[in-house]
């Protein structure tokens, strides 16, 4: 699996070059224009074939596992595990991905950034496969974040539009924020139990404390809800429709938004036994599926209609996991598969229509079946599946959903009712998007220039649409596979035969009534028209998010302006004030004793040096002449050099003497043109600065007195003293440290010096050049 992921990354890197070379090096000898989409789609097709070939193996219950050590000390490994649900998702990602790649090759044919688009798309595809197959928490998190980032780039693909950029940022902030919660959850589990992978967690039998369990659960649910756009984090998904249609089809219906659902499924084997987990999922999912369906049916934009219906189905999937029953977990896999097929198709169809007629408004669109026969066929196939007509996969999915609701022990009536209303609304959306557009009444829209789309745009939705029937008809052949999917969601082993036809039951009756209700809703809405629901009610989360971002920027701006007002003196004051507070507050807790010995054995030389320094310091501060100040500064340096002589540091003394001389010379050279000190600070400024300066000074003094309180011979000193001659053949230990024991540090230092010199010369040369 590592190979697959590596291929994905490599293709992502190479894609822009491929697009560039195909586009700009027109082959004039053979008049053959190869679309990059055709070439690139071979990659996901190949991956799909690989994953498809794994079906028999996985269905038989085997779970391939591979692991590569990364940071073993932190239990961060690249470990991959291909179980039922991982395989289902991998199949979807590569299968739909192949279609999207092909489709985008024509859809964005003339777009200047097609190369970048493929780069992001393959990056996303890789990340998503990584999410599906990662077993290690941290590898999973890495890929999870990578999906957020690549999705940010894809939503903001039309980056010249404000709306795109804002939507992209919104999606990134919401999913990225959720990602942080998820990371916290993983860390919490890891630090309390040492568990670092899903497979360990699903068989974990130890007990967690209630607090840990509850916190981890809340963190995970935030991660799940943000990624899968559950209420109240749903608002980013409809906004993300600003992305190009292939992206919406891929990320925001088939794959990325299902990552949250996927996470819920991955965690379910352990968390199902945790109190409130199932209930919370059911409440969140149930609310989302109902409200999103209600909001969705009132939309008029094709893509927004589909976006809300996706939200609704995501809610349904979360609910199914929350129900955690024999039937609901089986239903989960089938709904995922069926939804992916029909929703990707409908999005692609919407793109095809938009491409041809240049509008996505369903109240305008109609009677396109003659003009766009293939697109129409694909749309109809998908709509019928979504509506739940036999023998489509959607029918099967609906049957299982109703079955799990009727078999569920508690609140059966409420659940059945919820699913019924949601499904009816979803069916109405299916009719509006897949049927109404093509056979509905033609409105005041010009179809003169409308035409059937290019084959690259038509073939993918047609294939996905047909697969919807294939999956429905060959249901019994998929039993083992779907059982392996539901088994990865639960600790107990579930085996269940799948059949398309269940006989004349209550459930079938429900399905039929649903279709009738859908039709009824559809015709009512078509006649009366609707205003999108979210326009009627200024929806709270969106507004909250907006003002949150606004406040965030304002606060950040104010903080920045306060701390970074551009005045160096202010920065220095702030830095030193914090140093005073931090060091000053820790000094009283020092384990060393403060030792102040009254100087008795002090020679006359030492007193003279001390006096010289103090006098020089006074002169530096008081003097108005620059030359005097510099000379006084030199005196301080020389006096320190003499202290080095007195206290057994001949090397330091030598260096300090020469450097001090050089510094003074440098000042003299540079100072010619520097102006005199003319500004005289007022008394208050002086007092304020003096108090900061004296506090820092006393902290330095106190630190020294504390530090020298307990003199000791360091191990390092002994080490270097005993080895200097024996191992490094040098009698001057200081020099041996510099050029031998710690030579690497010295090498680094002289490189820094060389860079500083380069900088100085460049500064001087650069301005010379400018003056000419």
């Amino acid at each position: 699996m590592l190979i697959i992921l590596s291929i994905g990354i490599v293709v992502a890197i190479l894609a822009p070059f491929l697009v560039g070379s195909l586009r700009y090096s027109k082959n004039e000898i053979i008049n053959f224009n190869l679309n990059p989409g055709i070439v690139l789609s071979l990659i996901p097709v190949g991956m799909f074939i690989f994953f498809f070939s794994q079906i028999p193996l996985i269905s038989s219950g085997t779970i391939p596992f591979e692991s590569y050590p990364w940071i073993e000390s932190l239990s961060i490994n690249l470990s991959f595990r291909l179980d039922g649900i991982g395989l289902l998702f991998s199949l979807m990602i590569t299968g739909i991905g192949a279609g999207i790649v092909l489709y985008a090759g024509n859809y964005l044919n003339t777009h200047e950034d097609l190369g970048k688009f493929y780069c992001y798309l393959f990056l996303f595809m890789t990340a998503m496969i990584g999410v599906s197959v990662s077993d290690n928490f941290f590898a999973f998190f890495l890929f999870w974040e990578l999906t957020s980032i690549s999705s940010y780039l894809l939503i903001g693909f039309n980056h010249k539009e404000d709306k795109s950029r804002y939507s992209a940022l919104q999606a990134l902030l919401v999913t990225g924020g959720g990602g942080l919660a998820l990371f916290a959850g993983f860390l919490l589990l890891y630090t309390t139990t040492g568990i670092s992978s899903f497979s360990e967690l699903s068989i974990y039998n130890g007990t967690l404390s209630n607090a840990v369990e509850l916190s981890a659960m809340i963190l995970f649910i935030i991660g799940i809800s943000t990624k899968s756009a559950q209420m109240p984090f749903h608002f980013w998904l409809p906004a993300a429709m600003a992305a190009p249609t292939p992206v919406s089809a891929y990320l925001h219906s088939a794959t990325m938004v299902k990552a949250g659902v996927f996470l819920a499924a991955r965690l379910n084997p352990y968390f199902a036994s945790v109190e409130y987990w199932s209930e919370t999922l059911m409440i969140i999912g149930g609310t989302t599926m109902l409200i999103a369906a209600l909001m969705g049916v009132t939309q008029t934009d094709l893509k927004r209609l589909l976006a809300y219906s996706t939200l609704s189905v995501l809610g349904m999937l979360i609910t199914l996991i929350g129900m955690n029953s024999y039937e609901s977990l089986t239903a989960f896999g089938i709904v995922v598969a069926a939804h992916t097929l029909y929703k990707a198709t409908l999005f692609l169809v919407a793109g095809s229509v938009d491409h041809s007629v240049h509008t996505r408004d369903v109240t305008q669109l109609g009677a396109l079946s003659r003009i766009m026969p293939f697109t129409t066929t694909a749309g109809a196939l998908a709509a019928l599946s979504m509506l739940g007509v036999i023998p489509f996969a959607g029918f099967l999915a609906k049957e299982f959903v109703y079955e799990s609701a009727t078999q569920f022990g508690y609140n059966t009536v409420l659940l059945v009712f919820l699913f019924f209303v949601t499904n009816s609304l979803l069916g109405a959306i299916a009719l509006r998007t897949g049927i109404g557009v093509f056979w509905g009444k033609k409105n005041n829209i010009s179809t003169e220039h409308a035409h059937e789309s290019h084959w690259q745009i038509v073939v993918p939705p047609l294939v996905f649409g047909f697969l919807g029937i294939v999956l429905g008809i060959f249901t019994s052949g998929t039993t083992a596979f779907f059982n392996s999917v539901s088994n990865s969601l639960s600790r107990s082993t579930l085996l269940r035969e799948l059949h398309l036809w269940h006989g004349f039951t209550l459930i079938l009756l429900l399905s039929i009534i649903t279709i009738v209700a859908s039709y009824f809703i559809y015709t009512t809405i078509s006649k009366k028209g609707t205003t999108p629901l979210e326009l009627k009610f200024r929806l709270l989360p969106t507004a909250l998010f907006g003002s949150f971002i606004e406040i965030l920027f304002k606060v950040a701006g104010a903080v920045t302006k306060f701390f970074q007002n551009g005045k160096l003196r202010w920065y220095i004051s702030i830095t030193f004030l914090f140093a005073i507070i931090l060091i000053g507050s820790s000094l009283p807790f020092s384990t060393n004793a403060l030792t102040f010995t009254f100087p008795i054995h002090v020679t006359i030389y030492e007193w003279m040096l001390t006096a010289a320094i103090i006098v020089a310091l006074v002169i530096v501060i008081q003097s108005n002449s620059r030359l005097t100040a510099i000379a006084a500064m030199g005196i301080v340096g020389y006096a320190i050099a003499l202290f080095f002589v007195l206290y057994s540091a001949p090397d330091l003394a030598l260096t300090q003497f020469t450097i001090e001389t050089l510094t003074v010379v440098l000042f003299m050279f540079a100072i010619y043109k520097l102006p005199k000190n003319v500004t005289v600070p007022d008394r208050n400024t002086k007092l304020r600065d003096a108090s900061i300066a004296l506090s820092i000074g006393s902290i330095v003094t106190l630190s020294i007195l504390f530090a020298t309180g307990s003199p000791s011979v360091s191990e390092l000193e002994v080490f270097y003293n005993t080895r200097s001659l024996v191992e490094a053949y040098g009698r001057n230990v200081v020099n041996v440290i510099i050029v031998d024991f710690r030579a690497l540090d010295t090498l680094g230092e002289i490189i820094v010096l060389a860079v500083a010199a380069l900088g100085i010369v460049a500064l001087l040369q650069f301005s010379k050049g400018e003056q000419k």
């Binding site: 320190i640 057994s648 440098l666 200081v734 500083a756």
Partner: protein
Amino acid sequence: MISILAILAGLITATAVYLLLRKSLVRVIIGIVLLGHAANLFLFVISGLVKANPPLINAGNDTVTGVSADPVPQALILTAIVIGFGVQAFAIVLFKKAHEKLNTDSMDSLTATDSSRG
């Protein structure tokens, strides 16, 4: 003597900080130089003071004899002195150039980025 040097280090630091807070470019640079001195002195003093026994191995011995000065801080300070020189030189040139370009001696005039000043 440690106490005296501790106070001296404190005084040099205080002077350096006070100068860093001035408006005049020259004073700020002097402050940088003095701060370097103070830091070196600080390192030197906290490692303990030893008179007349530098970390040198005398002929005939294999190791430093007697209570000698610690070579580690000395090696650190030696490189710090030289690096400090590089930094000071850079600061001098930078301020000099800033002054030539903007024709001001006040730190407070150097608050905008070069692009906005043209």
